[in-house]
Structures are given as structure tokens and as C-alpha cells.
């Protein structure tokens, strides 16, 4: 099988870019063949991650890639920034972290609705979150 | 459906003891193995001739000729045959050997070559080998003994191939049965705004999810305000299924429709209580009749002005 891997880079600097990032993500998801509900889930996860970039780092980017593996295709989205990073990733990933307040990062939610999720962050060196959803 | 690879590794996991048992069941003894191994070098010389005759025979039939239409396919299977003959006469009958036999059986099954064709072709093949042995091996008696030993092994091969056929057929039947139990759930419009969904069969995670999506889309296309989910026909409800039902009801509510569940049997109710599902959150109403009464109540409450 041909290694189908097209990619798309979206700069995230303003809140309108959050909308752009999730719309691009959804378009790629549709091309790759994700079901409509899965397209919505991926778009929602991108929205949560991109908003964190605007709110906490000010500037970053989303890299949206169509990927393929034996017999299946999917969309890989890497959202990264060079902001202050996350001190306590475990806490940020726990559901309680966002309780009540407006400080929730939407990370636990985003993790729940994608097939693969990983996050790397060091204080002062930014955050990189990768999410993948298979068709 | 199991892939050939999975079947293969399944078989490879068979213990050495089981393989010994198979060999002794076919009365394949050390003497047989030694005898066969002794012609390994001779067999190299005549395998090409046997294989050539074998394919000349097969290709005289139209359906087989179609199957090997391209020269490259034919070359490939001929090489495969040569390798098979090498393995057959190598005198090593271990897990790898039997896994390979199983794999070949799988390929034949997939290609639609039934047992009758397979065994018939095998008989022709063994016949050719026997004739070659008569010509090339010292005495006719020696050739005959050698052929008898080969026959034992060949029959074991055929037995394994047949087993593969049966297993593959079983897998197909299972898949069909599974498909039957997964027949799409009908969404019935009882009257304007009221949908009835009789859920039947087993709800696994995958099916529950597609049911949820189908229901939500029906709410939109049929402009439903109340949804009655009748689960009389659902054999078992575990926490996963209960959770899917709750998710469906919550999503339906977001779209503006109310959901009612009917037909929870006493056993299912007991199971739900045991796993800690809050019955009130499922909005249950005994039987269908009570469910419809509640549906009417909700619909008229919203219509009053």
C-alpha cells in the first residue's frame, strides 16, 4: 500500500485560528474517510487543544496529517507551542482539574474522544500534544 | 474473521506433544521418515518433471486454466510446488512444517478450490511420484515401500487441509450469524413526533454505537420529540450497554427529544441494580403501553398553549 501522507500546517495565534484549525482537521478527516461522528469528535478535540495554545502560549501551530497503516487510514494532529508548558501533566489530564472553573484545559475530554493521545511538556519549553483518530 | 496469519500462529502454538500424536495416529514411524529422507537428493532430479506433468494435467481443465491465466502466477505456484516437494522429502516434520501445510490449505480454501478438486489433484500428483520412484529407485519393492511411506505423510497433509476447510467454513458461518444478529434496528414512526425503537439481540460496543448514531439521525430526519426504546428483545444488559443507553438518551435530549425505556425484564432490572445503574436516570416504564402513555403525556404537555 502506498504511504499516503499529506500534511497541512495551521498557525494558531488568534481565536479565529482555533476555528480554522478544527475546520481543516475536519476536512482532512472527511477526505480520509472518517465517519461523520468521528469527524466531529476529531474537530472537537482539535478545538480544545488549539484553544489552550491561544490562551496559555499565545502562539503555536497545528500540523494535520493523513496517515495510513496496513489496511487503515487515519488523521494525526500535532498541536504544539513554545509557551510556558505544563507543570503537572498528570493533574492536567485528570478529570477533576477542570471542575467548576474556567481553567480546564479540556485535555481529559480530548483524550477520551480520540484513538491515540500523547502529550509532552516541560515547564518553560512548551507543550506538544499528538492525537490520532482512525477511520 | 481470522486471518491466515492468525490461523498459522494458532497452529504453531500446538505443542510438540500434539504433533507427535498426529504423526503416530497416521502411523508415521522413524523408519518412514528415514526412508523418505533417503530420496531427498534423488527427488530434486525428478520433481520438475512431476510438477510439469501435474500442471499439464490441471491446465487441461478450463476453470484451472483461468485461475493460472498469467505466466507469472503459474511460475510462482510451480516454485511453491517444488518447495513443497523439497519439504515433503526433507524428513523434518515439525511445528513449522504443519503450520505451512495449514497455510496452504487456507490458500486453497480462499481460492475456492474445494476438497474434491484438492484431493483429486493430490492423487494425480502421488501417482506421478510413484511412477518416477519405480523408474529411479533400485528395486520395485523398495520403490513401493517408499511410496507407502510417502502416502502416510500425504494423507496427513490432506487431513490437515480438510481441517482447514472445515475451520474456515465455520468462521464464515459464525460471521454470517453475527451479521444476522446485527441486523439494523428499525426505527418506527408511531405518529408524528413519536418514534419506537425495538432493540433486539446482543448489544456489543460497536453495535451500540452505530445504534446511537442511527437513532440520533432519525430524531433529526423524522422530527421526533419522544423516543421509546423497547429493550424486551435484549438478552442481557451489562454496565457497558447501560452506559450506551444513557449516552443515547443524553444526546437525544441535547437534540430536544425525550427518551423512554420500556421492556426491562425483572432479571435485567436486577442486574442493573447490582451494577449500580440508577434506574431513574434510564427513565423506564414497564411495558410498551405504559411507555406510550408517558410519551403522549410529554407530547401533549408541550403542545398546550
Amino acid at each position: 500500500m502506498a504511504d499516503l501522507r499529506s500534511s497541512l500546517r495551521v498557525t494558531i495565534a488568534r481565536d479565529a485560528d482555533v476555528v480554522a484549525a478544527r475546520q481543516r482537521g475536519r476536512a482532512v478527516a472527511a477526505e480520509v474517510g472518517l465517519s461523520r461522528p468521528d469527524q466531529a469528535l476529531l474537530a472537537t478535540a482539535i478545538s480544545e487543544l488549539a484553544r489552550n495554545v491561544v490562551n496559555y502560549a499565545g502562539r503555536g501551530e497545528a500540523l494535520i496529517e493523513a496517515v495510513s497503516q496496513v489496511g487503515r487510514r487515519g488523521v494525526l494532529v500535532t498541536v504544539s507551542d513554545n509557551g510556558p508548558g505544563i507543570d503537572n501533566i498528570e493533574a492536567a489530564l485528570s478529570d477533576g482539574f477542570s471542575t467548576g472553573g474556567s481553567l480546564g484545559l479540556g485535555l481529559p475530554g480530548a483524550r477520551r474522544i480520540v484513538d491515540e493521545f500523547d502529550i509532552e511538556s516541560k515547564p518553560g519549553e512548551g507543550v506538544r500534544v499528538r492525537i490520532l483518530k482512525w477511520a | 474473521m481470522l486471518t491466515a496469519q492468525q490461523l498459522n500462529s494458532d497452529f504453531e502454538s500446538k505443542t510438540e506433544g500434539e504433533i507427535k500424536k498426529l504423526l503416530s495416529w497416521s502411523a508415521i514411524e522413524d523408519a518412514d521418515v528415514e526412508r523418505i529422507a533417503s530420496i531427498a537428493s534423488v527427488s530434486e532430479d525428478f520433481s520438475d518433471a512431476v510438477i510439469q506433468k501435474f500442471y499439464d494435467h490441471i491446465l487441461s481443465f478450463e476453470e484451472a486454466a483461468d485461475m493460472f491465466a498469467s505466466e507469472s502466477t503459474l511460475e510462482r505456484v510451480k516454485r511453491g510446488q517444488k518447495e513443497y516437494f523439497r519439504q515433503l522429502t526433507a524428513g523434518v516434520y515439525d511445528q513449522k512444517y504443519f503450520a505451512e501445510r495449514k497455510r496452504i490449505g487456507q490458500i486453497h480454501e480462499t481460492a475456492g478450490i474445494g476438497p474434491a478438486l484438492y484431493i483429486g489433484a493430490y492423487a494425480f500428483y502421488l501417482n506421478q511420484v510413484g511412477l518416477e520412484l519405480l523408474e529411479r529407485v533400485g528395486s520395485p519393492e523398495e520403490a513401493f515401500r517408499l511410496h507407502l511411506s510417502l502416502l502416510k505423510l500425504a494423507h496427513l497433509d490432506m487431513a490437515l487441509a480438510l481441517q482447514t476447510y472445515v475451520e474456515a467454513r465455520e468462521t464464515t458461518i459464525e460471521a454470517q450469524q453475527r451479521e444476522m444478529s446485527e441486523l439494523p434496528t428499525p426505527v418506527l414512526q408511531v405518529k408524528a413526533g413519536l418514534l419506537l425503537v425495538p432493540v433486539v439481540g446482543t448489544l456489543d460496543s460497536h453495535r451500540a454505537r452505530s445504534l446511537t448514531i442511527a437513532l440520533l439521525e432519525s430524531i433529526q430526519s423524522m422530527r421526533a420529540r419522544v423516543l421509546v426504546l423497547d429493550i424486551t428483545g435484549v438478552s442481557a444488559v451489562d454496565s457497558m450497554v447501560a452506559n450506551h443507553l444513557l449516552q443515547t438518551m443524553t444526546a437525544a435530549r441535547l437534540m430536544g427529544a425525550h427518551s423512554i425505556i420500556t421492556g426491562i425484564s425483572p432479571t435485567v432490572a436486577e442486574a442493573l441494580v447490582k451494577i449500580g445503574v440508577d434506574a431513574t436516570s434510564l427513565n423506564t416504564f414497564g411495558d410498551l403501553e405504559r411507555g406510550f402513555e408517558e410519551a403522549e403525556r410529554i407530547m401533549s404537555a408541550h403542545r398546550e398553549e
Partner: protein, 122 residues
Amino acid sequence: MPETPILAHSGVLIASIQSALSDSEILSLRSQLLARISHKSVRGVVIDVSALDVLDSFATRTLNELASGARLRGAQTVVVGIQPDVALSMVLLGLTLRDAETALDLDAALGLLESAAGRRDG
């Protein structure tokens, strides 16, 4: 991006979102609606979100804030037109509209507000 039109119709404010909204546009819509409730005898707010293909945690939170703010001023909020796949995503994310009512479309929302008014007055 087209501004979200807000219509007033016999005591009900109707906002029809036309296309995807950024966070600041959602906030601005919330402020506009709350401002109009305060100086008019508004009993209901209907927000049509059928044009949205994503309702994430921020949008949901803002809608909830709008609904509870409106309630403090005596108005009920109805969110209409949540798409099937959006509804499912919200549920899987654990997002709920606890302070707003929901309805399939504008007609159903207006009926809902009418019957609520009927109950209150009767």
C-alpha cells in the same frame, strides 16, 4: 464572518448562528443577548446552533452562562438544532447544557416557551 442576527418576536429573542464562531464572537453574542434581556420584557431566548459542527467545552460553558444569566432576569433559554454528531461528541466529552432547554427546531422551541408561559400564568 456574518454577524449573528438577533430577532425579537413577542417577548422572545431569537439568535440564529450563521457559521462557526470564534470564542470572542460567542462571548460577544452572549453579552448582546444578556444586554437586550435587561431592558426589554423578554421571557425567552432561542439560540439556533444548527450551523455549528462543533460545540466544545468553551461554547457549551458560554451557553450555560448565558442561560443562567437569562434565568436571573426571568427569561428561559432554549438551544435548538444541535446536530446528531455534535450531540454525540458533547456526551462523550461529558458536556451538558444544564441551564438551558433544548428543542429540535425553532417551532418546537417557541411551543416550549409558550407552554412554559401558560403554566406560569395559569
